[in-house]
Amino acid sequence: MWPIIGIVLAAIGIAIYEVPSMIKRNLKKELWVFSVLLIIGVTLSIIESLNVEIPNPMDWLTIIYKPFSDIFLRILK
């Protein structure tokens, strides 16, 4: 429970710190990107703090690069 409260408080802190200056300077696009990224960040952090397994991008890369890494390892053997 505590990690989730911490994450949400941190996110609120970040929003309080960033949003007013963006509104003042009329940066609408930045505000959108910021909000989307912050929501993604909070969601991922909460999932991580609950010890739920997050899909690992490195494993996807291993699958994508499998043919190339096989060739590479054969050359250097």
Binding site: I14, L27, K29, E30, L44, S45, Y65, S69
Partner: protein, 367 residues
């Protein structure tokens, strides 16, 4: 359009050195010793030659876009959508690499220095420094690099001098025992950690360097100096520890620093020596984080990149905790996928950019 920041050629040279030495100083002596055994230092020389060749290549690619970053140039070259696709891949590559650097430093601090502290917090505080530096901008952290680089140099000299009594030259023999192949393999792994990861500098070079001609020279000199530093470290890890212990330990440079013992008086100064890689690794993290944030901001045509730093940092912490579930996973991934992965972004993508732009110029010339 983001505001352009300018740094001098000297500051650029220092950034090249810090980024080249980065995590290399921690990881490479072990890899070199595992691949090339007692010939690790020959592999380090060969890797330096590869590094200088790559600098030559990056200088040619860099001179295609003297006033914009590689991300903006790709958009201009390939057209809006394909360009944006390539740029997104490149920025994500920088972001992903940033998370692996954070994993490495988190792993080092947790296993060697602060075993009781949760790794989330070591990574968090390390990343906070990178976020603050990124928000302050390139000019500020380049100037700070000038001050901090002095200390890297001082501690490096201390390490080299204080270990002189421990050298065992018979550790180097026999030379060329296993032939050229393992040396070549070691050199490729070495340059994949050091000179190939310097592709991130194309986000600040040559746009942000105030004198391009001097900047190109600084790129060569910086790579050369950093290569000499790594050569010393790998030579010392063979001379002091021997190839067997060097290849078995995860962080041989740290063990090297533990070996310092002068007259039963100067002892256990390894944490002070560790400042070398605290500074170099933080600069590598900063450059990668800065590069990816600037990259994302340019892809989305934002006016200010600063609002992205904190949310991206939040994502980065989770990413660095998930990319490698364990050191074993990291070792397996590095042995198989790492080299083709880094080659696509640090060699084949710039090569594609170079070929397409040369062809485009030829077609235009014919008309």
């Amino acid at each position: 359009m983001l505001k352009r920041e300018k740094i001098s050629a000297r500051q650029f040279r220092i950034l090249v050195i810090l980024s080249f030495v980065g995590t290399t100083i921690l990881l490479v002596p072990s890899t070199l010793a595992a691949e090339a055994k007692q010939d690790a230092w020959i592999a380090a020389i060969l890797g330096l030659v590869f590094g200088l060749l790559l600098v030559w290549f990056y200088n040619i690619v860099g001179s295609l876009f003297p006033n914009i970053t590689i991300i903006e140039y790709q958009e201009r070259l390939f057209g809006k959508w394909i360009g944006k696709f390539f740029s997104l891949l490149f920025a994500s590559f920088l972001f992903l690499n940033c998370s692996t650097i954070l994993f490495t430093v988190g792993d080092f601090i947790t296993t060697q220095l602060l075993p009781e502290t949760p790794i989330q917090f070591t990574i968090l505080f390390f990343l906070l420094v990178a976020i603050i530096a990124t928000r302050l901008g390139l000019e500020v952290f380049a100037r700070a690099a000038e001050i901090l680089f002095f200390w890297v140099f001082v501690f490096f000299i201390i390490l080299i001098l204080f270990l002189l009594p421990e050298l065992e030259f018979k550790n180097l023999q026999p030379i060329f025992e296993n032939g050229m192949r393992p040396i070549l393999r070691g050199a490729i792994y070495y340059s994949s950690y050091s000179s190939m990861t310097n592709i991130v500098l194309l986000m600040i070079f040559p746009t942000c360097v105030n004198n391009i001609k001097q900047g190109k020279k600084a790129f060569y000199i910086g790579t050369f100096e950093a290569g000499i530093l790594i050569l010393f470290i790998s030579l010392y890890s063979i001379l002091v520890l021997g190839h067997d212990i060097s290849s078995r330990s995860v962080f041989p440079t740290y063990i090297l620093a533990k070996k310092i013992s002068i007259g039963d008086f100067i002892e256990r100064i390894e944490v002070i020596i560790a400042f070398i890689w605290f500074i170099t690794v933080i600069y590598k993290t900063i450059l990668y984080f800065y590069g990816s944030v600037i990259g994302f901001a340019q892809i989305l045509n934002l006016k200010d990149y600063r609002p992205l730093t904190l949310p991206l940092g939040m994502i980065l912490i989770v990413l660095s905790l998930t990319v490698f579930p364990s050191t074993l996973h990291e070792a397996a991934w590095t042995a198989t996928t790492w080299i083709p992965f880094i080659l696509t972004f640090s060699f084949f993508l710039p090569l594609l950019v170079l070929i397409v732009s040369v062809l485009k110029k030829k077609i235009k010339g014919k008309r």
